[in-house]
Subunit: 414 residues, 2 copies
């Protein structure tokens, strides 16, 4: 099958790619950016076919918008590749080196993972982002985009792969699976030894399908049921600003909040102000029974609201007894993405940081900062919500492994 | 089923365990060590049943030896637990912390993984080692040992779990699966969300079965087809000492070598001396056609010899054209465990370190050092031969994840 043949080719390419000099990788990335601009017309034409097909299938306007490319979006992809050029290459870095009593020096050297498979949905720009990040981190990539975007993805992948090879990147380093059937993806998830890591990017259904079926290591990304907890001692103006920012600045992304938890002793003063402000911003509030007593206009929340990632201008609100109650609620409903406590109390801040088990745990800041560039990592391939290998925003370093290098002068074990 | 009920219990325990103080964990470990000694008679009695059963099934003496406990081995397990007490607790460490232009301080804090499943074969001492390492790193553990050792494992696990609980460790932190049927292990490998990581320990068959069937993240451990490459410029006496050490000091372990590669231009001088020395030490040599021409008494190697982990006094020997040839041979046949180059040439040393893709890459030292205590990590739960999450010897830190902790003073995203 296509995926197996391409994975074997990728494995071979990955060995050569793993030891390439940084400047070869950078000149390839620049050439890839140039090529996207040069082939803009071809890519847009291919995209037009995808958009027409989507319209014929009565796909929602929101999805068509994700699918559609224009001059600006292609320039955005090219700019993304040039930003990756600017990021330091992690490969070959030795993070630490120590000496043993027998004189051996042991160091931990960064190296690529090998072959990375990306399984994604309708945004064709993922094709360029993922290819660029994998290339810079010395990994071969196998891209498996959705059928909606297949013509766009083909045009982009051919452009990138050709431009990379022109600058000395081994053939097979960037490959797209052209057969978008389910069988290919099922087989891809079982190619242990040929693909080293799978990163699914997309909705919860896609991600769960990969986790449940893959025997290759998977990084679980993205789903964010994020919380802000307003503590008894919170600066309430700060809490208000942070909640408004975390809910409304960009509601459709994974680091936006879906629930606010409020300490019971400030609920009466804080909730009416918060509800008024959010309602003015067209946020629909769904409250617990205490919330609806304090704010009678608020709709009652059901059990399912606590576990829902709305990705929309909807917010669940719950009054909690204390910080323990808040921490327990988060442990029960959170997807482990980002949570924030608003407090002026030192002990509570420390307790929240220690006890909340999410990728990013904040004190007095908006959850919207959980993002590779906001953390200072540059571009990211996704936000991991699992605890194995990498957690939180995944930049270049999270696309690497390490090996121990040991320098001796004849040591043998007694 | 038993495994699902126990995994749910472990998940609940793991939340409380994750935030326990180091001194509670240490006093539990000490109590566990004491309890093993106190319950020695009970454990030995249970072990006697396993040994008798094994004899009745005509199991090999080597396996019975692995299975058998005595006073010294139980004392060894207790000592192992006390050594874990001495290791620093990684949980809560903040490895680095940086400031962003907006004033946010972002740190990377070590935290436990959650629930770790260990699937192992006949050595009952794994029960104590794994329980101790998981406890100290704040993880709940589910132990699934082989049916051969079930009575010993039950006696050890009950002893450890009771002793841990006496000192404040939550119930469910250390659990053994008592049903050793295949169905339980199959179900265990699908408990995503309840078990966070599986570590198989044992032979290649066991490990491959877990990798091929688990949808939970797995750490691949142990199989070592390790190489020494003797470069043109090698100090030949050093090479000889290292080869003898790496092959014969303890041939049955994963970091012993199985193949020696020799540069063609020194083969005539080096091989006869090496073959003589190893033959005197009762090592059987299997050589390539060049080797057998130089040393006519050497048996000819078949293709399968290059890929075999003998775990015995057998060594495959191949003459290679140059360092590239050696690196390619290793890439083709190695299991990615440990490889060493013997050379006085700086460029070749650097090339070998860069190009060989194994967990531990040595210059001028024996591969036998790939081991948690030799690296300075203390006790290890296994040696990872994969590239995701952890590679090489896995100590306490490799049994952890991290979370980002972010300290703000009201930052919102523009």
């Amino acid at each position: 099958m296509e995926v197996e043949i391409k994975a074997e080719k990728a494995k071979i390419a990955s060995r050569r790619l793993s030891i390439l000099d940084e400047n070869i990788k950078n000149s390839a990335l620049k050439n890839m950016a140039d090529a996207l601009i040069k082939n803009k017309a071809t890519i847009l034409k291919a995209n037009e076919i995808d958009v027409e097909n989507a319209k014929a299938r009565n796909i929602s306007n929101a999805l068509i918008d994700r699918l559609r490319l224009d001059d600006k979006r292609i320039e955005g992809m090219a700019k993304g590749l040039l930003e990756i050029v600017m990021l330091p290459d992690p490969i070959g870095n030795i993070e630490k080196m120590w000496k043993r009593p027998n004189g051996l020096r042991i160091g931990k050297m960064r190296c690529p993972i090998g072959v990375i498979g990306i399984i994604y949905e309708s945004r064709p720009n993922v094709t360029a982002d993922a290819a660029g990040l994998c290339l810079k981190s010395g990994n071969a990539v196998i891209l498996r985009g959705g059928s909606d975007a297949i013509n766009s993805n083909k045009a982009i992948a051919i452009t990138l792969s050709k431009a990379a090879c022109e600058k000395g990147i081994p053939e097979g380093s960037i490959q797209l699976i052209e057969d978008t059937g389910r069988e290919e993806v099922n087989q891809m998830m079982k190619l242990n030894g040929k693909i080293d890591l799978l990163i699914p990017r997309g909705g919860a259904g896609l991600i769960q399908n990969v986790i449940k079926n893959s025997t290759i290591p998977v990084i679980e990304t993205g789903v964010g049921n994020c919380h802000v907890y307003v503590d008894l001692s919170a600066n309430q103006n700060m809490a208000l600003d942070i909640i408004v920012n975390a809910k409304t600045q960009r509601p459709g992304v994974c680091n936006a909040i879906e629930s606010v938890l409020v300490h019971k002793d400030i609920a009466k003063s804080f909730l009416p102000i918060m509800v008024k402000k959010l309602s003015d911003l067209k946020v629909e509030i769904r409250g617990c029974d205490v919330t609806t007593k304090i704010c009678p206009d608020v709709k009652e929340a059901g059990e399912e609201d606590w576990g829902t990632e709305y990705l929309d201008l909807v917010l669940a609100v719950k009054v909690v007894n204390d910080i323990e109650d808040a921490i327990n609620h988060i442990a029960k409903y959170s997807t482990g993405h980002s949570e924030s406590i608003i407090t002026e109390n030192y002990d509570n801040a420390m307790k929240f940081l220690k006890s909340v088990d999410s990728a990013a745990v904040y004190v007095n800041a908006s959850t919207r900062f959980t993002d590779g560039s906001e953390f200072g990592f540059g571009a990211e391939i996704g936000i991991s919500t699992q605890k194995i290998h990498a957690r939180g925003p995944m930049g270049l370093e999270e696309l690497t492994s390490y090996k121990y290098v040991i320098l001796g002068n004849g040591q043998i074990r007694k």
